[in-house]
């Protein structure tokens, strides 16, 4: 290894910079410079940018294809994509944020965006919309709003909206002699449906997973029952009693053998195409709406002839229990090439050809023209078509957009799962677990 004087000097500098940072780091204002300056994204679209997203091989391929199209459409632009799996993506993103080297376009969801907005790390996109750099005219307003932070500013432009659905294995339902819940069914109907089915299901199958610890089902339940997950101040919008009621419902089902056992649920792999539902061992489960296609493929491989479909979440007196979980690209304050980043965000979300190439890989396309073009494509598979149509039905019901407070993904989701595990494994009563969850969530949210 050859060591030049310069290299060594740089190293020494780096180390001492670290030490200095260590000594002088006290105090300081969160977020740092530039807060409040409006950046409207106008300017020459040229130069290099980094683009980051999460996903596996299939999505990487599609995203890279769109990036290539973007480069072709804008001469002088070089865009480098960097992807990782969901967990690794956020680990890296946070390390990059710590060293103030975030990529210029970062993919985020409502569940994490406020971890970043609360530190003033992201640029509001509204000035760019006003300046005409980013176009939102083809996106339903309710969907655009899901990218807003607590201050009402738009921090990421939703390009794909995921939703949760109840997957039903219609073959098993038939064998159990139950009809699919009717349109507009509520939680009581759903419970009855599960209990009826459980009596006549074949050996080795259950009506549903032990789902008391899954936040998404709980979000649907709160909405259907006229409650909210979070109030306007980002505090919990439901009470301890609500949670006790909800978990008691699941505990009764579990005790009656309607749900999967706690042990089996604990060891279940997280990907929807790896779970028991995809194995044909569950009649119903909550799955992401876009998991229908892979689940169908896995079930086909089992060769038992099982068929599955998806229906909306149970609703209630207060309306639909469905919520949208959009993903979109945000632009960090530290970005040194905002015009190009803004152009990319706009291109990825609105360009018709790009939309067809990406093919709603991460939630249904939010741009209605793109969505219609995809639906009109004769090559679209039946399952994918069903996924997109169910999305349209859910959007028609005007789903509420949830503003997740900072710390949601890390604190709320993990604590919710763990608290219910304490119940399901008999370590705590429902009341104890609900109380300790509420305390933990209150302490951890907002930071």
């Amino acid at each position: 290894m050859k060591w030049t004087r310069r290299g060594l000097g740089a190293l020494a500098l780096g180390t001492s910079a670290l030490l200095l940072a260590g000594c002088s780091g006290g105090g300081g204002n969160a977020g740092g410079g530039g807060g409040g300056d409006a950046v409207d994204g106008t300017g020459e679209v040229t130069g290099a940018i980094e683009i980051a997203w999460w996903g596996g091989d299939a999505r990487n391929e599609k995203t890279n294809a769109v990036i290539d199209m973007f480069e072709e459409a804008n001469e002088g632009v070089t865009a480098n994509g960097q992807s990782a799996d969901f967990q690794g993506y956020f680990d890296r993103l946070n390390v990059q944020a710590a060293s103030k080297s975030l990529p210029c376009a970062v993919q985020l969801q409502g569940r994490q965006v406020n971890d970043y907005t609360s530190r003033d790390l992201l640029l509001p996109l509204d000035p760019m919309i006003e300046a005409g750099v980013i176009d939102v005219s083809d996106i339903p307003e309710a969907v655009v709003d899901t990218g807003r932070g607590p201050d009402g500013n738009l921090y990421f432009l939703p390009y794909g909206a995921a939703y949760d659905a109840v997957g039903v294995n219609t073959t098993l339902a038939q064998q159990a002699g139950v009809e699919l819940p009717a349109e507009g069914y509520d939680w009581d109907d759903f419970v009855t449906f599960l209990e009826d089915a459980a009596e006549n299901l074949p050996e080795g199958t259950r009506a549903i997973d032990s789902n008391g610890g899954r936040p998404n089902f709980f979000i649907g339940w709160t909405q259907a029952n006229g409650k909210t997950l979070f109030d306007e101040d980002g505090k919990l919008g439901f009470t301890e009693d609500d949670l006790v009621e909800y978990w008691t419902m699941w505990e009764d089902l579990r005790a009656a053998g309607v749900t999967e056992t706690a042990e089996r649920t604990a060891e279940e792999p997280s990907g929807p195409d790896q779970g028991y539902f995809a194995n044909g061992q569950l009649m119903t489960d909550t799955i992401p709406g876009n998991a229908l296609t892979p689940v169908t493929a896995v079930l086909d491989g089992k060769g038992q002839g099982h068929e599955v479909t998806t229906i909306p979440y149970p609703s209630g007196a207060e309306g639909s229990g469905n919520a949208l979980y959009p993903s979109g690209f945000a632009i960090p304050r530290s970005c040194d090439n905002v015009p190009t980043a803004a152009a990319f965000v706009n291109f990825f979300t609105n360009d018709l050809d790009a939309g067809l190439v990406f093919a709603s890989d991460n939630g249904a396309a939010t741009n209605t023209k793109v969505l219609e073009a995809q639906l009109a494509d004769p090559a679209l598979s039946e399952t994918k078509k069903h996924e997109l149509e169910l999305f349209q039905r859910i959007v028609e019901n005007d789903p509420p957009s949830i503003v997740f407070p900072p710390g949601y993904q890390a604190t709320f989701e993990a604590a919710f799962r763990q608290a219910y595990e304490q119940v399901a494994f008999g370590r705590q009563s429902v009341e104890e677990a609900a109380a300790s969850f509420i305390a933990e969530a209150n302490a951890g949210l907002g930071s």
């Binding site: 940072a21 530190r119 089996r264 604990a266 060891e267 799962r417 930071s447």
Partner: protein, 317 residues
Amino acid sequence: MTERLAPGIMADAPGRRWSRGTKNAAKRREAGVAALFLTPWMLGLVLLTLGPMLYSLYLAFTDYDLLSPPRWVGLDNFTAMASDPRFLASAGVTFAYVAVSVPLLLVISMLVALLLNTKMRFLTGYRALFYLPSLLGASVAIAALWRQVFGDEGLLNAALAIFGIEHGSWVGDPSTALGTIVVLSVWAFGSTMIIFLAGLRQVPSELYEAAAVDGAGRIRRFFSITVPMLTPLIFFNALMGTINAFQAFTGAYVISGGTGGPVNSTLFYTLYLYQRGFAQLDMGYASAMAWLLVLVLAVFTALFFWSARYWVFYGDK
């Protein structure tokens, strides 16, 4: 700390072998040579290692969320640990894991190393095959494999069913989940075994022959020759095994999907540290946890080195 940490290397190291007259000059010359030998490591220490270490020590006394500058909070992070049920759970899990997995790993890798240290057919093949599980490392495939073995519908239950024993999931049951991770660590005993094997190769066979002439049996020879000659490597494996077990992360991370579940039964110390630091953006707390672990490990290391003078034999004496 430094005085207590490493008495072993100096206390029994040979020193004064020069005559008084030449001693000082020779000493100075040797120190100069040592400086040359140590240059790369010293550079790395000063430029790459020490800075980040000291910075993390500073962070242990701050509130630092990665996304905004750290804020000095004194001992708050350390006092918060005392009332953090998950911290206490993680410490308990880790101690249990160290206590069970380290001795198991040492004994098994030693036994297999002895088994493979004799002249026999297919020796190379055996060694390679026993070593195989260690090669997989932290592969993402491990989680899927472990569920195939210890899951509800896994291999172990299928085998038990032959004997009419029914058992639920081993991975999903809080009382057995940690056990499956112990098995994972023992499964990958190859690395420890290789170090023992290499050490066994250095035991001079004349010692055995002499002992055999004296009429010592196999077991006598093992305890009076093999074990003493291997002590530097037993010492190494035991110490490194303990440090590694205290820092164990990957197995639990992969198998529990990063959650440490069910019911925190596989929430290892470093897994919780990682959750706090990266998922919950509480790097100050994570750094405090890390330095507390350093203290604990320093005590363990000091104990190891202190005990070493009584049972470790070096050939350089």
